[in-house]
């Protein structure tokens, strides 16, 4: 198939970017979206033009590195699908496709379609863990976890940290990402001890990193390639409120 592409080109974070148009003949329907970009880049190199920089790695939909806004949608038109797992059979011959990087204040553009998502790492570093010293853990079956709880924790833990939720949110909020991690760890008995601290520190880190507030647009859930639900945001809000209250009274006493 033949495609018309409009791609965001930006030299680095200090310069302004713009859309540039490219024509691409002979794209195989079985190719993935990123393979389509590979082919385009090969043609640009041949012509002596700088290829388009984009982030990608596993190309299996699990590493969370790919980050393209395709025709205005984070990860493109298919539900529950990362850009690397989007295949060209979902497009039509002669289509015009617009490709942009994630847009969010907390994710500055590094080059072309590559953005800096270290703000997510900062949120995890603030409290997205269970303190467990290496080598001294009790036998794994000493902490039975009811299957529904383990399953729900896994639903949250499936987050790949791609940042589509932030890119899709009109406020650039990281609530879905943060709540997924809080939800995963706070649900489990092993995570209970640090529950309050975790949620307070992670929310604080999220605000410090420059992410916006949640105003219940729900765009995050709509684009999430791992189908993390808004329920986790509600849960996090509850955990946060309880932690604040408990913290207040602990200090008072």
């Amino acid at each position: 198939m033949q495609l018309h592409l409009k791609i965001w080109r930006q030299k680095n974070s200090d310069t302004k970017g713009q859309f540039v148009s490219y024509e691409l003949p002979d794209v195989d329907e079985g190719s993935s979206f990123l393979e389509m970009l590979d082919i385009m880049n090969e043609q640009l190199v041949e012509k002596g033009e700088a290829p388009v920089a984009f982030d990608h790695d596993c190309r299996e939909g699990i590493c969370g590195m790919c980050s393209l806004v395709i025709n205005g949608e984070a990860h493109g038109p298919e539900r529950a699908t990362t850009a690397c797992q989007l295949h060209m059979r979902h497009f039509k011959d002669g289509d015009t496709i617009t490709i942009e990087p994630w847009r969010a204040k907390a994710f500055p553009v590094v080059k072309d379609l590559v953005v800096d998502r270290t703000a997510f790492d900062k949120v995890i570093q603030a409290g997205g863990f269970i303190t467990a010293r290496t080598g001294s853990a009790p036998d794994a079956n000493e902490i039975p976890i009811p299957k529904p709880i383990a399953d729900e924790a896994m639903d949250a833990a499936a987050c790949i940290g791609c940042g589509a939720c932030v890119a899709a949110c009109p406020n650039g909020s990281a609530m879905l990402f943060t709540s997924a991690k809080v939800g995963h760890l706070n649900l489990l008995p092993q995570g209970k001890a640090e529950k309050d601290q975790r949620v307070m520190k992670m929310v604080e880190a999220m605000d410090t990193a420059g992410f916006g507030n949640c105003t219940n647009y729900g765009e995050c859930q709509a684009v999430c390639p791992k189908e993390i639900t808004l329920d986790f945001i509600a849960k996090m809000n509850r955990d946060y409120a309880v932690a604040r209250v408990r913290n207040f009274f602990n200090k008072a006493s």
């Binding site: 030299k11 680095n12 195989d28 079985g30 190719s31 393979e35 389509m36 590979d38 082919i39 090969e42 190199v45 041949e46 700088a50 290829p51 920089a53 990608h56 790695d57 596993c58 190309r59 299996e60 939909g61 699990i62 590493c63 969370g64 590195m65 298919e78 797992q85 295949h87 590094v110 590559v114 270290t118 790492d121 995890i124 570093q125 863990f129 269970i130 303190t131 467990a132 010293r133 290496t134 080598g135 853990a137 009790p138 794994a140 079956n141 902490i143 039975p144 976890i145 009811p146 299957k147 383990a150 399953d151 924790a153 896994m154 833990a157 940290g161 760890l185 489990l188 092993q190 995570g191």
Partner: protein, 664 residues
């Protein structure tokens, strides 16, 4: 090259505990004076960096991705083994050890494998304690399943995303240490050189690395008291593989060129259950978890004509009569059936396709059929067990596997070869430790399913924290932090990195790095893939040499060195693959036997062999030569365009005696 495996004295099941009791400790107050460099942030790198930091060492960790959470360990699907015997089905440390040694076709180091089996139980405890949501039974206890090559259910899993959950676990521990300031994390940094410094013992010790900041292009020097490489495998030398796009051999290969031995590079695991290649524009292969083999039945049409009709789309797989199907694994290996080990299953698929019975449009595919399982267990149960894998398959191929059987074909997956290490995971360069897939020791010629995650975490959480301390303890506190990056060795290493980058940018030829990579991959797969021959390998070596020359005169790298330049990154990695591919072929040529993931067509069981006559194995199976090849082949760099030297570490088996692998 001195290759002392440093296997501790004592009975096999006590070696590790006796060794731990004897090795040197570093006083907690002194640990902060040592600086440890960890390259790579996958299971091995992240767990090592987190544990060492928690112990009090200063740690710097480097990865080429934008975050340590993206290391390729994240893509492992199926599970992690541990000898917990929670299922009461007769598992034990000994049995896991035995299966791993046998599965590796007697080319791994027995003592390392035993330790791996021992610490496997601690890994599960550790990961559960830090919140990995493994699958549970309704009673709240951990669930297990069986996995390729094993007759017991010892595999722990988190849906089809086990690698992801384990990596996120290790990453969370690493993140905690980063937050505390105990680990300094350098994302988007690529290690391009290892720095060796002369010590007063007359040896050169690993004391630092040179990196390129992939965003700014800045070349930087990092000095440390010891260096850990946990940089994964080199499967991407084949271009098409299940590896992430960024996986590369550069860090390990730089170490090799500085004198580290490279062991068994020809041991490449070809994974039996991948989605077949669809066309020329393809950039990678996707693996379907091997757990699918628990319930899926693998078959190819008995008749070539039927296969051809399927290829042309004239016949649907579901319309093929039961009598016309060949469930070849169940037929050839009745006791293991569809769970036969990976090398055996892969070769059996190739055989069926070579006979003209393949089914994908390319003829390179066989069926993995859930029809009977769905009939037996119901669609819901199958969806619960494998739903995400089925969705993934449908997303890639457009076919619905609940209705029509999946198509699979083997693809390059994991590499068992790697830098040579002793029992302490130290290479022959003092102070250079190598962990996870980047080392060679634990899987022999073939890796069993669900044991890669186990090894990565074992090395990082439970081995290096002891053995690395032993090295530092032996060095003595007086040496801590003494070497700084203004040492002349750093200057020389930095200069060579700059020259290499300048050279790549100056050629300005007419062919892209990717195109060279593709050409290399084709040579590798055709002549050093699932089956290898003397003639093919000799041709491959010549072709790679010619291709390398062409690369250095015709490669075209656009852009500059001082910016984010993905073409330059790729060019550097391809340049190393172009040298390493030759080394891999040389190793394959040297090894006049077939074992595990290494199949030399000249060495296969013949109709007249006693084992075949006795019915122990079929004809056409891999034929080892224990008399002449029971060694790890360790290559020593002798100079550019000079033949490398082969060194041997003889492998002896005290406990599991070498025997013919039979899965009949």
């Amino acid at each position: 090259m001195e290759l002392n495996s440093n296997i501790p004295e004592g009975p096999m099941d006590q070696k590790w505990s006796l060794h731990k009791g004897k090795i040197k400790l570093v006083n907690p107050a002194n640990r902060r004076k040592y600086h440890v460099i960890v390259v790579g942030s996958g299971l091995a790198g992240a767990s090592a960096a987190a544990s060492l930091a928690e112990m009090g060492y200063q740690v710097s960790c480097f990865c080429y991705q934008d975050s340590p959470r993206r290391a390729h360990s994240i893509a492992a699907q199926g599970g992690i083994n541990a000898a917990k015997n929670y299922q009461n089905d007769g598992d034990s440390v000994y049995r896991l050890f035995y299966d791993t040694v046998k599965g590796g076709d007697f080319r791994s180091r027995e003592a390392n494998v035993h330790r791996l089996a021992e610490v496997s139980v601690n890994i599960i405890d550790q990961m559960v304690a830090q919140g990995v949501p493994f699958a549970r039974e309704y009673g709240g206890l951990l669930a297990n399943r069986s996995f390729g090559g094993a007759q017991v259910s010892r595999t722990f899993y988190a849906r089809g995303q086990t690698g992801q959950q384990l990596l996120l676990g290790a990453y969370s521990q690493l993140s905690k240490q980063i937050g505390l300031g105990a680990v300094k994390m350098y994302n988007r940094h690529e290690m391009l050189e290892l720095v060796l410094v002369d010590d007063d013992d007359g040896k050169q010790h690993a004391k630092g690395i040179i990196t390129r900041n992939l965003v700014t292009g800045k070349i930087e020097r990092w000095a440390g008291d010891t260096v850990v490489l946990a940089t994964g495998g080199y499967g991407n030398v084949f271009f098409l593989s299940t590896n992430a796009q960024g996986c590369n051999v550069t860090a390990a290969y730089r170490a090799y060129k500085k004198g580290a031995g490279f062991a068994n590079p020809c041991y490449t695991q070809i994974h039996p259950t991948c989605i077949p290649v669809h066309g020329e524009q393809q950039s990678k292969l996707t693996l379907m978890s091997e757990s699918l083999r628990n319930d899926g039945r693998i078959w190819a049409p008995k008749d070539k004509a039927v296969a051809e009709k399927i290829r042309k789309g004239e016949l649907k797989a579901s319309d093929v009569a039961e009598d016309d199907r060949d469930y070849y694994l169940e037929r050839k290996y009745p006791s293991f059936g569809n769970l036969a080990p990976r090398d055996i299953s892969s070769r059996a698929a190739k055989e069926a396709c070579d006979e003209g019975r393949g089914v994908a449009s390319s003829g390179l595919g066989v069926f993995l059929d859930f029809r009977d399982a769905i009939k037996r267990l119901g669609k819901d149960t199958i969806a619960q067990r494998y739903g995400n894998l089925f969705d993934m398959y449908q997303c890639i191929t457009g076919d619905n596997p609940y209705e029509t059987p999946m198509m699979i074909y083997p693809a390059v997956h994991y590499t068992m070869g790697g830098l040579w290490v002793d029992y302490n995971l130290e290479s022959n360069i003092p102070g250079l430790f190598v962990a996870g897939e980047a080392n060679f020791s634990d899987h022999g010629a073939n890796r069993l399913g669900a044991s890669a995650l186990m090894q990565g975490l074992a090395d990082g959480y439970f081995v290096l924290p002891y053995t690395l301390g032993n090295y530092l303890g032996e060095q003595g506190i007086a040496k801590a932090g003494k070497i700084t990056s203004d040492h002349p060795a750093f200057e020389a290493a930095e200069k060579s990195v700059r020259e290499r980058i300048d050279k790549l940018l100056s050629i300005q030829g007419d062919e892209s790095p990717r195109s060279f990579h593709q050409r290399l991959g084709k040579i590798m797969w055709d002549k050093c893939g699932m089956a290898r021959s003397k003639q093919g390998l000799e041709e491959a070596i010549k072709e790679i040499q010619a291709l390398r020359k062409e690369f250095w005169s015709r490669v075209k790298v656009l852009g500059d060195g001082d910016e984010l330049n993905q073409e330059l990154e790729r060019a550097g990695r391809v340049a190393d693959f172009l040298e390493f591919g030759e080394l891999l072929c040389r190793d394959a040529l040297m090894r006049e036997e077939s074992c595990g993931g290494h199949f030399r067509v000249e060495h296969q069981s013949m109709p007249n062999d006693p084992e075949v006559k006795e019915g122990l194995i079929s004809e056409g199976e891999a034929k080892r030569d224990d008399e002449n090849f029971a060694f790890a082949g360790v290559w020593e760099y002798m100079g550019d365009d000079v033949e490398p030297k082969l060194n041997k570490e003889m492998l002896t088996y005290e406990v599991v005696h070498m025997a013919t692998r039979s899965y009949k």
